[in-house]
């Protein structure tokens, strides 16, 4: 009896090994490897004068010490600038080991390899680097003022200036009946997955090949990068992603210095080499995000309709820009959310500072854009004396207007064209879920008890399923099991389960006979990676298309064997049968045998496919032209543009009248990611995203002092939410299927975090009648705002 898998809350296939302690994360591998430790700059900006390794030589177990001078060939060139853009006129990336200058605390200066990590750190500590400190540029303000430069050849610390506009926004604003100006700021935060980065490399000198394990979000691209840097043919390099303990964007950057240094050392030393970072290293040498300063001018009519919107912002991109302008481009475009201002202009400057570089963290610039737009809408509502949902409704793009062209270029280089979505319906659901219309009664009741409560909401639209493509490979083995591979990677999103559900339905095989591999270049070589909420859309669609091809082939082969028409056949529980007549059928495993005409039978089942066993037509070739042996297929999905998910969050907070602490009483989510493959997994993604949104609203900020020292580079001082800080999350779904892919899915991975700061700020404002333009907000900051108000 077959059950439909798609859309079901299937428990995950990954969990058996993960809950029993049998996960294989990077540091669990390579017990025989040498281990590396890095010497990192303690200065935010300095010239390197000398590196003295004499004292390190005393350390028993020391194997090698490398500095920039040891790097040869392309290893001596800067790391790649992954995403060039015409506006990125002054892109700078780092060297794998600092060449003459360091540009942030934590930049790698030397690498030590030793018998184990303890000894490597002993040696690293004894290496004396002499620096000549230079003035550090920290914060958007000092980057803008540019009294000092991060890179000598980058005037004004400006990496890029970019403008997009749909018309003359300034004119539209100037002629509008009402105008508001706002300044808004979001502080820097970071992905901080529980598992840091790690690399293990093994050079096989007999085979002249390199095998690299790395905790990455893109095995295929790391492979290309390593091959390029080491001067190896690509087909002599394989990259395997182990179990990854979270990514949230930070592991999409590649190659990290260590990702090329470790393989390079392994080749030189002809020994496996491993490096796993510790927590402090992650804070000072991975990547951060979120820091932006916005200036908004908006013109609107008496009803609160947006007549013109002009946003000017400054994006702190840290010391280097390997990921190009993706984050600020996403901010610029996704800021619009579900609205249609008559005219929109956005300009940003991406600025260098002597801090850790900035690359995507879940949301990738959307939280900032959402914060800006939603605070603006609330400000308009306040000024007009209108209900905050009413102002939004008046500006929504309506379902009848889909597809809606916002007139901008999105982060994939293609049109920002919303394909589907029903924003009024989403809002209606949200209002019902949170009890928007009944809130005033609740507030009055609470006030009688001396409690201060407030409600806020925020809406977002998220472009998901960014291209260029993803692929799938599906093969039915002769024992009836099904092997599925895709090139993109997993960091805990349950991809193996989700993709197996798709294949189970498309191919008609039992779910537990399917094995899925992700992120292994030995199994699948063409992929982009896991980011931008794209897996279900891209790999899901690719795998579905691939499974359909396999199904078609199976039916073709079976129809010959069963002497039945293809239209009369179905596949149920792994058996191809005449519809409604299961006794007339053959197992898919047998079809797999038949699909591969053999000379030699390696087991009994295979005997059926050998030349004397099968009654084949002697006048046609065993493998017909255009066919291939085996019951397998490869296919790719490459959409013309992204598909747009959306959602809305509503938050009820209580603020303490004395201590100004903020407590979240209710957190409601209405979420539309099109068709759901596994609702349990989608909800898990929302929960996790909301937790990070709460963190970003109330707790998470990375603090640099004016010398560029990161003051809170540990979990003790960088506050991530525990269970006590995250509320129970109430979720309702809306489904507007995507018209762009075979499954109708839209991405869901990042949604939970996008409107968090906006909704919570709105709720606190509502409770306190203060104006909040900066997030995160702490109790003492709220306290100060209260004082300023009175």
């Amino acid at each position: 009896m077959s059950t439909r898998m798609f859309g079901e809350r299937i428990t995950r296939t990954e969990d058996q090994r993960l809950v029993s302690g049998n996960g294989r994360y990077l540091d669990d591998l390579g017990h025989d490897a040498l281990e590396a430790a890095l010497v990192r700059s303690p200065h935010a900006h300095a010239r390197i004068v000398d590196i003295d390794v004499t004292d390190a030589l005393e350390v028993d177990g020391l194997v090698a010490i490398y500095t920039y001078e040891d790097l040869d060939g392309r290893m001596a060139e800067p790391l790649p600038l992954l995403i060039p853009h015409p506006s990125l006129t002054h892109g700078r990336t780092q060297y794998a080991l600092a060449r003459e200058e360091v540009n942030h605390v934590g930049e790698a200066v030397a690498m030590v390899v030793a018998r184990n990590r303890y000894l490597a750190e002993d040696a690293a500590q004894r290496i004396r680097v002499e620096y000549a400190p230079l003035p550090a540029v920290v914060g958007i303000e000092s980057a803008r003022t540019a009294d000092h430069l991060v890179h000598e050849d980058v005037p004004g610390n400006v990496a890029a200036v970019m403008v997009q506009q749909t018309g003359d926004a300034d004119a539209a604003i100037d002629s509008a009946p009402h105008v508001l100006e706002l300044e808004l700021e979001i502080e820097r935060s970071a992905s901080t997955p529980l598992e840091g980065k790690g690399v293990l490399a093994r050079w096989d000198d007999d085979d002249k090949s390199l095998l690299v394990h790395t905790s990455t979000q893109t095995a295929t691209s790391v492979r290309q990068a390593i091959a390029a840097k080491l001067g190896l043919p690509v087909d002599r390099v394989e990259v395997v992603t182990p179990d990854v303990g979270g990514g949230f964007g930070v592991k999409i950057v590649h190659p990290w210095p260590e990702e090329v240094l470790v393989p390079w050392a392994a080749c030189r030393l002809q020994q496996p080499v491993k490096w796993t970072e510790d927590r402090r290293e992650h804070f000072v040498s991975s990547a951060h995000e979120r820091g932006q300063l916005h200036h908004v001018r908006v013109g609107y009519d008496d009803d609160g309709r947006l007549l013109g919107l002009s946003v000017r912002f400054w994006h702190d991109n840290g010391a280097y820009v390997p990921y190009g302008l993706i984050v600020p481009i996403i901010t610029s475009t996704q800021l619009l959310g579900p609205y249609k201002p008559a005219v929109y202009r956005v300009e940003f400057s991406s600025l260098y500072t002597n801090t850790v570089m900035v690359t995507p963290y879940r949301g990738a610039g959307r939280p900032q854009g959402c914060f800006v737009m939603e605070r603006t809408m609330d400000a308009i509502a306040a000024e007009r004396g209108l209900d905050r949902t009413v102002v939004r409704e008046r500006n929504f793009i309506l379902p009848a207007e889909m597809p809606y062209d916002q007139g901008l270029v999105f982060q994939d280089g293609r049109q920002l064209l919303y394909d589907s979505g029903d924003y009024p319906a989403t809002l209606a659901k949200l209002k019902k879920l949170v009890g928007w219309d009944e809130f005033e009664a609740f507030r009055a009741q609470a006030a009688e008890d001396g409690r201060r409560v407030g409600i806020g909401l925020a809406c977002y639209v998220e472009g998901t399923g960014v291209g260029p493509y993803e692929g799938g490979h599906v093969r039915v083995e002769t024992d009836g099991s099904v092997v599925v591979s895709t090139g993109l990677t997993s960091q805990g999103q349950g991809h193996a389960t989700m993709l197996a559900q798709i294949v189970a339905d498309e191919l008609g095989v039992p779910f537990d006979r399917i094995r899925v591999t992700t992120g292994d270049t030995r199994r699948f070589k063409y992929a982009v990676g896991t980011f931008a909420s794209r897996t279900a859309v891209m790999s899901g669609s690719a795998v579905a298309l691939t499974a359909r091809k396999v199904r078609d082939k199976a039916l073709r082969i079976a129809s010959t064997a069963l002497e039945a028409a293809v239209e009369d056949l179905e596949i149920v529980d792994g058996r191809v049968q005449v519809a409604g007549a299961p006794e007339a059928g053959i197992d898919l495993g047998t079809v797999a045998v038949l699909s591969n005409p053999l000379r030699y039978a390696f087991d009994e089942a295979a005997g059926a496919a050998t030349q004397f066993a099968t009654p084949a037509d002697p006048n046609t070739p065993p493998v017909e032209a255009g066919e291939a042996p085996g019951l397998e297929a490869v296919d790719f999905y490459s959409p013309t543009r992204s598909t747009f998910a959306n959602g809305m969050h509503a938050v009820v907070v209580e603020t303490d009248p004395d201590t100004a602490e903020v407590r979240i009483l209710r957190y409601c989510v209405v979420h539309d990611c099109g068709t759901l493959v596994n609702p349990m997994i989608v909800e898990g993604q929302i929960h996790g995203g909301v937790a990070q949104g709460v963190g970003g609203a109330l707790y998470e900020r990375l603090v640099y002092d004016e010398h560029g020292q990161l003051l809170n580079a540990s979990f003790m001082d960088f506050l991530m939410p525990y269970a006590s800080e995250v509320p129970t999350i109430e979720i309702d779904h809306l489904v507007t299927p995507s018209p762009l892919n075979p499954l109708g899915v839209k991405g869901a991975g990042e949604a939970g975090v996008i409107p968090g700061s906006a909704a919570i700020a709105a709720a606190i404002e509502d409770a306190e009648q203060v104006t909040i333009r900066r997030m995160p907000i702490s109790p003492s900051e709220l306290f100060d705002l209260r004082r300023k108000r009175t």
């Binding site: 029993s20 005393e58 898990g684 525990y722």
Partner: protein, 169 residues
Amino acid sequence: MTTETQVHVSLVVNGTRREVDVPARRLLSDVLRHDLGLTGTHVGCEHGVCGACTVLVDGAPMRSCLLFAVSVDGAEVTTIEGCCAADGSLGPVQAAFRDCHALQCGFCTPGFVTTVTAYLRENRAPTEAEAREAISGNLCRCTGYQNIVAAVLKSAEATVSEPANGDPA
């Protein structure tokens, strides 16, 4: 030339006696993971905040990243691997985590499972608020905790007997 003195450490880990010779400064987490091959215990911060490294030492949940192996010489240690049932199948806490989708990347999970295992011995029928408080010393970046709370409650229902494999009674 620096060389390290080795110290002999004897532990009962998941019911089995293990003997190692390690430098005095070697952390318990590293001994478990690299010297004993029990890689289920994970290291997330090495400063005792995230809880991913939590193991039970003589029944009490402790941060193995903050312990020198030599300092627990003679102790009984239970790791995530020891929370399975005697026949190797999932123990009640592990099964509840799977059923409630209380893990995503799984990196923090071992620390939660050991913590919850110890907690449920003290409090067999927690309320939701108590369950949430019990897990508020462990960080998770993936799940938002909601399903972990549900898993604690589900484990409480399911835990009728002690988990096997050397757990102290």
